[in-house]
């Protein structure tokens, strides 16, 4: 594969690893978490997004749509059952309310975009982060991208949900990657199937393998727990993860605060979704500290 479907390349990120970083978001993910805050990254195909706030109501899109798939005033503005993703509307939209989600890019394209940020990486100890979606969906491509980045001496980090072929990851990613941010969401397998769509057995197994590799200094590993009200944010789950980490010999973790602003992203790409009320609220500082305490009690450093 010489091109991958890229969602976005976002520079100046301070939250996706050390220093100032540029994040490459891949489109496509084997999981289907109900709380995913990048819902437009789930499918590995291009999609059409309509942002009502940017729309100026000029109907240039409607006028150009050969299939009459654009219905102003309707819930999602676009009748996606009819739409064939020709993206003619995107070309004529003056405000960018209509946009194409997902662009095929080659490694060289990505490098060319990223390289302008290198002076900031050098000063801040930053680099490039692969994220998404799930970058390992494009295992070969990710490997080549990471290789190219290492060639020009850029620090590399991959954010992953852990659902990949462990041997392939070890062969293709580990040699060119300085750091892994590894999501551990739910410790109970049946819950993981229910809320994320797949079993967590492979995920936990891959994590153990990576920890072993980190002990041999092949790569740095940082586990991350996304706090999701009522789902991952339970005493039982956090304690369970804490025990798991201790068993692996890991004594640090990042506890991620919940971001409830994703439902409107669903709307833009036409997902209906009955969203639980609990998932539309910010988590209180008190609650965050409650779960943080559990980890600290289990001698896990935040």
């Amino acid at each position: 594969m010489n091109k991958a479907l890229i969602l976005d390349i976002k520079g100046n990120s301070l939250d996706d690893g050390p220093g100032i970083r540029t994040v490459v978001f891949f489109k496509g993910c084997p999981l289907n978490c109900v709380w995913c805050h990048n819902p437009e990254s789930k499918r590995a195909t291009p999609e059409l997004s309509w942002d009502g706030r940017e729309c100026i109501g000029c109907y240039s899109c409607k006028n150009v749509c050969a299939l009459n798939a654009i219905i102003p005033g309707s819930t999602h503005f676009i009748n996606r059952a009819v739409c064939n993703l020709c993206f003619a509307c995107v070309d004529v939209c003056p405000s960018g309310a209509m946009s194409k989600v997902g662009k095929l890019m080659a490694v060289e394209d990505i490098i060319q975009t990223i390289i302008k940020d290198k002076p900031f990486f050098d000063t801040s100890g930053g680099g490039v982060t692969l994220s998404g979606g799930e970058p390992t969906v494009y295992m070969q491509f990710a490997s080549e991208l990471l290789k190219a980045l290492k060639k020009i001496k850029i620090h590399t980090l991959i954010e992953t949900g852990g659902y990949f072929n462990g041997d392939e990851f070890e062969a293709n990613i580990v040699p060119y990657c300085d750091m892994v941010y590894y999501d551990i969401k739910l410790i109970e397998d049946f819950k993981h199937k229910k809320y994320c769509g797949v079993s967590n057995a492979k995920i936990l197994q891959n994590f153990k393998k990576l920890v072993e590799l980190s002990q041999k200094n092949a790569i740095q590993v940082m586990p991350r727990i996304p706090l999701v009200p009522g789902i991952t944010a339970t005493k039982h789950n956090i304690e369970g993860i804490a025990h798991f980490l201790r068993e692996c010999g890991v004594n640090r973790v990042q506890l991620l605060r919940y971001n409830p602003l994703w439902p409107e992203k669903c709307f833009k790409i036409g997902s209906n979704g009955n969203i639980d009320k609990a998932l539309t609220q910010w988590m209180s500082q008190k609650d965050y500290e409650f779960y943080a305490k559990i980890l600290v009690k289990n001698t896990i450093q935040l």
Partner: protein, 994 residues
């Protein structure tokens, strides 16, 4: 409402109202002694007439003041001193019935314009004010109340969490990691163990500063005027022509000998800028008489009110202002050159503003010299020069310098006597001792060289007062005080035993803090209009820290960090602290500290890249050692310390006006001035290529530039005759040898600098035109013109396209950066080709003070999608919506060619510290941005570390944010003292989280 509300809308109705109004004035002034007395002055009756009319002459009246009698006429006298011309009937009614803020906006927006002398129009306004000031005051109060209500409706409850966050910032302080080679005595360079809690004296100074209202002080103006009345201004008492420089020196000496020697009752430094605790000195030869119309109301105005006592009012109206009515720079030019076009354009507010109508200032005095040899040493040098034989001009110049220094010495001696007397009366033993020390120091300083830090700072302060007594407090700057005071600090430290060092450190911090607060004892006497142009600005006394020595080595030293610590603790808007950073020479420790101080104070110091400045100044032919010794002047501009008369803020130039004139065939829409070259109507398709349009733009811009320089030169001539500055010349290298005043070109290096406003707006507009009309051929020029003329009311698609789909400056587009460079190159080349009246060159800068807001108000919609009346971007900062990514902004600004920006730039970055990140991480992130920006070649960066939420809360509940400073474009201001438009502009700046 001024008179009464009326529903009469007809032209006839307006004529009746105006007529009755004028008759009412005449009646009252003719029949009431208490008013009639104002028609006279020490120089006799105020005799003049004013005209009022509409543009179409449907309304025409005159009012004349002659020998104490007021008459209303149905025609305008041919020799009327000023004619107020209303755009239409409605404007005439509005002027009489509107609030003072309405009147200002009417002037700015050309709803009313003045043909002739604005000074006489001001006298007329003053007379109106004498009659109606109660009504005016009520109107101001009502206006304030209404505005306050509106703002509080948007934010009813004060959010204490927000104001607490700002205060809490200073509680956490980092310790320095790493060391600088020339920091000798500080274990922790960041001095983190100290806070304001350790300095109760400074706390009290700060409290006074934030709560006391400034007052107009007539002392200086009164004494000078007295001397001139007794000894003559144009001619001396024998009837011979005065040499201006000797005349001014004699008057100056008299004034310095006779002004009150005051000592703030808690300060370690003697001397005050005025006779008031916080005073506005008056420079009637410059812009002083511009407040004539506000004598009754200046205490009640909404922005920057000043107290004024009855005695001051009387002195100004009867004595001072009449004397200087024709002896100020503006009126002198008007009289000699018959109200030239270049002056008229300046007085329409929207095109350019030439600072010489107020002052020159904007330089760095030779503190090192006076610290080393004292004023007596300097006088000695001058005598030696005189004895070596010289022509008349040199003789007069040196004599004048000596006289001025003698005046300074007399003042210092008076301070010493005063301190002695105060100490005899003082009960508190600690204060008694302090006063004795002051008395002792002032008996020797500044006459002799300094030995200790206290003596050095005292010398600097007294000289500073002395310089302000000669010429306006606007942009005169303090220079590299860290460098120049370091030897005295080191000397003191050497003589102090180690166990006493901590005590001395506290003393040093307190002394420098005291000095900062002395610098706040005065405020420029701004006319109300200036509150819209230069909102919130004080004197802009720039201090410059760090960088490299003339030899190129690391200049960061103990005093650098002491100044930074004082800056952090006090968080005052002025002195305007600027920090120089040389990549590869100055340390990361130092740069991180600059970032931390920016975080704690939310807005200072401004940071400069020495490498880029050196690159910018080298083509001007200055020797590298002198370039390396540069200091920030006024706002951000570089001058070569104490050798360079650079008038770095010669003018504020509205480059967007040139664009508007290009779109309108030489006609400026708002001012209705049809004076530009006839480059053609774009809607007729005359510009067949983009380059022909760009060329037309340069023709319009050249017209404005040439006119502005013409006025600049005429004003410069006025300065040479009315106010040469021999004292300042004594402190600028070159004047002694050449025997010439700075105004005549005596300085070793000469230049003048402009501040060009609207670079991002013009670049973006050019990009929109190039892309849509020429590259993609999506629109005809006529379509763009139509959209712009109608403020995009019917062109939502076009407006959206230019906002979202055009590559803007700051978005990372190579093309847009190239366009910006094309513009700066053209501007720089045009200015630098022009002959300079002092034999130097013109330098171009891209920063705006607050004029981007004022000029924006006066400009219509632009092809960039900016709507009518909205501010331009500050300095050359990209549009807030150019890119979501701060790095794009940083990179694009860094790619501007520094040689075109030899009068510096202002690049504003608004960052928001994360609530959860550690202090260390936040400082490291800020450091990464700044360091990379400098490494990429960026010249200057200034920050606002505050959220829009905080600013909105501060706008509605100012009492909780009295001390919050913001960076405008080149200077700091207290957010709560800014006008609403300026506040909103700051709120709307793009913010980036860290």
């Amino acid at each position: 409402m001024l008179l009464y509300t009326t529903n009469i809308r007809s032209s006839k109705g307006t004529r009746i109202i105006i007529f009755l109004f004028l008759k009412f004035i005449a009646f009252n002034f003719n029949n009431r002694k208490s008013l009639n007395r104002y028609l006279t002055s020490k120089d006799g009756w105020l005799n003049f007439s004013i005209g009022l009319k509409t543009e179409d002459n449907s309304l025409q009246y005159g009012i004349s003041f002659f020998e104490g009698k007021v008459a209303v006429t149905k025609t305008i006298a041919h020799d009327a001193k000023a004619v107020m011309i209303f755009k239409n009937d409605e404007a005439a009614r509005k002027l009489l019935l509107g609030t003072p803020t309405d009147v200002i906006y009417m002037l700015l927006k050309s709803d009313v314009r003045i043909e002739g002398s604005i000074s006489y129009a001001n006298i007329f306004s003053f007379f109106i004010s004498l009659l109606f000031h109660d009504v005016q005051k009520r109107a101001m109060k009502t206006e304030r109340k209404k505005d306050d209500k509106t703002v509080k409706r948007q934010q009813p409850e004060h959010n204490k969490q927000l104001s607490d966050e700002i205060v809490k910032r200073r509680k956490e302080r980092l310790k320095a990691e790493g060391a600088d080679p020339h920091v000798v005595y500080l274990d922790d360079a960041y001095l983190s163990k100290y806070s304001m809690d350790d300095f109760p004296r400074l706390q009290r100074f700060l409290h006074d500063h934030l709560t006391k209202k400034p007052a107009v002080c007539a002392e200086r103006a009164y004494l000078l005027t007295k001397w001139y009345r007794e000894n003559g201004f144009e001619k001396d008492s024998s009837g011979n022509n005065w040499d201006p420089i000797v005349r001014n020196a004699l008057a100056y000496k008299y004034m310095m000998e006779n002004r009150k020697p005051l000592i703030n009752d808690e300060s370690l430094l003697a001397g005050t800028t005025t006779s008031k605790p916080i005073g506005c000195p008056i420079y009637p030869d410059g812009s002083g008489i511009m407040i004539w119309n506000e004598l009754m109301t200046i205490s009640y105005r909404t922005y920057n009110p000043f107290d004024i006592d009855e005695q001051t009012r009387e002195v100004l109206h009867f004595d001072v202002f009449p004397f200087w009515l024709h002896r100020n720079f503006r009126e002198w030019v008007r009289d000699k050159y018959n109200n030239p076009l270049s002056q008229q354009l300046d007085e329409r507010y929207a095109l350019y503003f030439n600072w010489k109508q107020a002052t020159i200032s904007h330089t760095i005095p030779n503190f090192p010299k006076v610290l080393a040899m004292g004023t007596l040493g300097m006088i000695q040098e001058m005598h030696e020069e005189l004895n070596s034989g010289c022509g008349e001009e040199k003789q007069n110049c040196l004599t004048a310098m000596i006289l001025c220094l003698e005046g300074v010495n007399a003042y210092a001696q008076n301070l010493s006597k005063q301190a002695m007397g105060d100490s005899n009366r003082e009960q508190n033993p600690q204060r008694k001792q302090e006063l004795l020390t002051i008395a002792d120091i002032c008996s020797r300083i500044p006459m002799h060289g300094a030995q200790t830090l206290h003596e050095a700072v005292m010398a600097v302060w007294i000289i500073w007062i002395a310089l302000h007594m000669e010429s306006m407090n606007a942009g005169l700057s303090l220079g590299r005080l860290d460098q120049w005071l370091q030897p005295y600090f080191v000397n003191d430290m050497k003589n102090i035993p180690p166990e006493k060092r901590d005590e001395y450190m506290k003393f040093a911090l307190e002394l420098i803090g005291d000095f900062y607060m002395r610098c706040t004892d005065h405020f420029p006497l701004t006319p109300d209009l200036a509150n819209f142009y230069f909102g919130g600005s004080s004197s802009d006394q720039a201090i410059t820290l760090g960088g490299v020595t003339p030899e190129g080595t690391d200049a960061v030293c103990d005093m650098t960090y002491i100044f930074l610590k004082v800056t952090e603790m006090l968080s005052v808007r002025d002195p305007n602290v600027n920090a120089r950073y040389m990549p590869g020479v100055n340390s990361d420790t130092y740069l991180k500290r600059l970032c931390e101080v920016n975080l704690i104070t939310a807005a200072t110091p401004s940071m400069h890249n020495d490498a880029a400045i050196i690159k910018a100044l080298t083509p001007m032919g200055y020797p590298i050692n002198d370039i390396r010794d540069w200091s920030a002047t006024g706002c951000v501009e570089p001058t070569l310390s104490h050798k360079h008369f650079g008038h770095t803020n010669m003018q504020m130039m509205n480059m967007v006006a040139a664009l508007e004139m290009t779109l309108n065939n030489g006609y400026h829409p708002l001012t209705r001035l049809d004076v530009g070259p006839k480059t053609g109507r774009p809607e007729d398709g005359v510009f067949t290529t983009f380059d022909t349009f760009f060329d037309a733009f340069t023709q319009q811009f050249a017209f404005l530039i040439d006119q502005s320089i013409d006025y600049n030169n005429k004003l410069a001539e006025a300065h040479q005759l009315i106010r040469p500055t021999p004292l300042l010349s004594a402190f600028i290298e070159g004047c002694l040898e050449k025997g010439k005043d700075v105004t005549m070109g005596g300085a070793k290096y000469n230049s003048s600098g402009t501040a060009i406003i609207g670079l991002a707006d013009v670049t973006d507009s050019m990009m929109a035109i190039k892309k849509l009309v020429y590259d993609e051929k999506r629109y005809a020029f006529a379509d763009i013109k139509k959209a712009v003329d109608s403020n995009f009311a019917h062109d939502a698609v076009l407006l959206s396209l230019v906002h979202k789909k055009i590559p803007l400056f700051g978005s990372g587009s190579d093309e847009a950066v190239a366009m910006a460079n094309r513009i700066t190159t053209w501007a720089h080349d045009h200015y630098s080709k022009m002959p300079h009246y002092r034999g130097g060159a013109y330098a171009t800068g891209f920063w705006s003070m607050s004029n981007h807001v004022a000029f924006g108000t006066l400009t219509g919609a632009l092809p960039s999608g900016r709507l009518a009346g909205k501010p331009f971007t500050p300095g050359l900062t990209p549009q807030p919506f150019a890119s979501k990514n701060l790095l794009d902004n940083i990179r694009d600004v860094a790619r501007l060619n520094p040689e075109n920006c030899n009068n510096n730039i202002a690049f504003n970055v608004k960052v928001v510290p994360s609530a959860i990140e550690s202090r260390q991480k936040t400082v490291n992130d800020m450091f990464s941005y700044v360091k990379t920006y400098f490494e990429l070649g960026g010249m200057q960066m200034q920050m606002n570390v505050v959220t829009s939420a905080v600013l909105r809360d501060a706008m509605a509940h100012p009492e909780n944010y009295r001390n919050l400073i913001v960076r405008i474009s080149g200077y700091n201001a207290y957010f709560v003292t800014l006008n609403r438009q300026m506040q909103l502009e700051l709120i709307e700046r793009a913010e980036y989280g860290i």
